[in-house]
Symmetry: C2
DNA sequence: TTGTAAGCGTTATCAC
DNA sequence: GTGATAACGCTTACAA
């Protein structure tokens, strides 16, 4: 791949041993606080000093090779924009996993799935793989397990049949929004589906959830395919007849809600007078709009801390029961002025 | 760290060799398309088949150990929220680096700096490290080079003295905004500095850039420490005397600009009548506001493709000249209704 | 054209 | 308590 390193070689444990005047194994014992091995305090101290002096940093690959598995929790991420909840959640999760001796790594891969993708992830012999549920196949999971990956965790809108799952419940988001709209007396409901295809993974469940909740109350919903740019959105709105125009819209998320509100207002429609609008994700900016945007807030039923603990436990025990829910997001309405 | 893997061991190149009836070395040759080694097509095919059948995935750590360096481009990221430009830029960069055989990896680390942090990054023997300029020290860079890291790249508002740099020019952003405000006839200028301390890295340069540009035109700027929440921001605005109130404000970025606009309007101030407001980052949402927000758009002087190419070249050649600018963002005003 | 064998730096199993 | 020593899976001279 690349040329060999030039310049001074990095210090190895052998170098440390030489400097400290002990055997190489002793260095390893000291560095890892090996259990069941007694090392005198003086030796311990000398080794520590020598390591410090040489700027010794154990070679992660050598360790992984020897142990058969790294301490990495691998999160392969294609180009999907990460929502706000997820963003915060994973930052926190990463911080917490460190406390358990793991390192959360976002791995910029292609958008492949199944066994082929799994093979690439497996190269790194991670302790766990955290990946979108729809990128897993039975063969892929098998491949990962065969590669010594202790734990495969799926992420998706519902429990995966292939692995324990972090459930980000997009169905509930749609349902919550629609229930609110109905409670506010709206009956001609519209649900935005982004025109941008990369959002389909989230949009599908949000729409379905909305549809189901509406159906349960005997209300129909209409699908509104909306582009995220103002001009395109304006065209969509301009195409509405007064009669068939919705009086309540779940706009997929706050971003689309803002575009929609703007173009509807420009078209002379009052929000919420003529049309109520509900977004999702509860972006800080939404509450600054006129009218302030009603939104579905997505929260977790469990803290990132609990997920981190559980994940660690699963890695250690090599648990791999499918269908288990490690985390489930909950949806709740934040009622403001737009609905 | 964790228990050893259970179940079937992952297939090794030796397993593949056995199945294909060739030597282990041959497997390596075939898998890597080794240059200067002729392998008959039939052998090649048999090896390929065997690898496929066993679901063989080469052990990245073994490869790294042997070669002394991995193909990873490591990007250690603490909890700093990534701006929009940066987000898009790095997604693109990641995609492009794959084409060169590298893998961009976001590494969730602590927020340490200097040699200690470098030691942790060095563990992975990455081909390159991409990191915030202020986390680098001379010792840290030396440590990385000693660990065989071919290339250390800094990211910051100006060329680093320690490494080649991706310059995200926050000075220019502040300057651009203030020049615009002055051109629009504003003379009592305010510059927002977020109350949130984690933004200081960006806020400092943006403020300084604004200050310098103003000074060059004989105008003073006033520092406005603004919290990001509406109530806090409202308090700040309420504290202004009519006389000393600014007539033009650079609001740090679009987020703060939106809060500021909202609370100023609620306080009875007209935008841009009484106060002109300029944001930065040109968020899509800004143009949806009333009035539509003027913003400083941050663009690149070079495409991510060029940076990827250059970075690859640097890795291969182990170039490490400090002061070189690999990328420099440019700032340009997007004039809308708020100024 | 293919096989043999020497390491890469670490951890773990034994002797001492 | 500490020190040899044998893997771990791979790449790459060099031998055949």
């Amino acid at each position: 791949m690349t040329d060999p390193p030039s310049g001074p070689r990095p210090a190895t444990s052998t170098d440390v041993a030489r400097l400290a005047g002990v055997s190489q194994a002793t260095v390893s014992y000291v560095m890892n606080d090996a259990p069941g091995v007694k090392i005198s305090d003086s030796t311990r101290e000398r080794v520590r000093q020598a390591a410090e002096q040489l700027g010794y940093s154990p070679h992660a690959s050598a360790r992984t090779l020897r142990k058969g598995r790294s301490d990495v929790v691998l999160m392969p991420v294609p180009d999907i924009p990460v929502g706000h909840l997820a963003g915060r959640f994973f930052r926190e999760l990463g911080r917490l996993l460190r406390g358990h001796g793991h390192t959360l790594v976002m791995y910029g891969d292609t958008d492949g799935r199944g066994a082929t993708a799994a093979r690439e992830w497996a190269q790194w012999r991670p302790a766990a793989v955290l990946v979108a549920a729809d990128r897993l196949t039975r063969a892929g999971v098998r491949q990962l397990h065969a590669a010594g990956v202790a734990t495969v965790v799926a992420m998706g809108p519902r429990p995966s049949l292939l692995a324990p799952t972090l459930v980000f419940d997009d169905y509930a988001i749609g349902g919550c929004a629609v229930e609110h709209l109905i409670a506010r007396g709206r009956r001609r409901l519209g649900v935005v589906v982004p025109a941008e295809p990369e959002l389909a993974v989230f949009a599908g469940p949000r729409f379905e959830g909305a549809e189901r909740a509406a159906a349960a109350r005997g209300v129909a919903v209409r699908r509104i395919v909306l582009p995220s740019d103002e001009a395109g959105a304006a065209e969509v709105v301009a195409g509405w007849d007064a009669g068939e125009r919705p009086d309540g819209i779940f706009a997929y998320n706050d971003d689309y809600a803002m575009v929609l509100m703007r173009v509807m207002q420009d078209a002379g429609l009052a929000v919420p007078g003529d049309v109520a609008v509900v977004g999702a994700d509860d972006l800080p900016l939404g509450r600054l709009l006129r009218p302030r945007l009603t939104s579905v807030r997505v929260a977790g039923d469990r803290s990132a801390a609990q997920v981190a603990d559980r994940l660690h436990q699963m890695i250690v025990a090599a648990e791999r029961e499918a269908g288990v829910v490690l985390f489930e997001s909950s949806a709740e309405i934040v009622h403001r002025e737009s609905s």
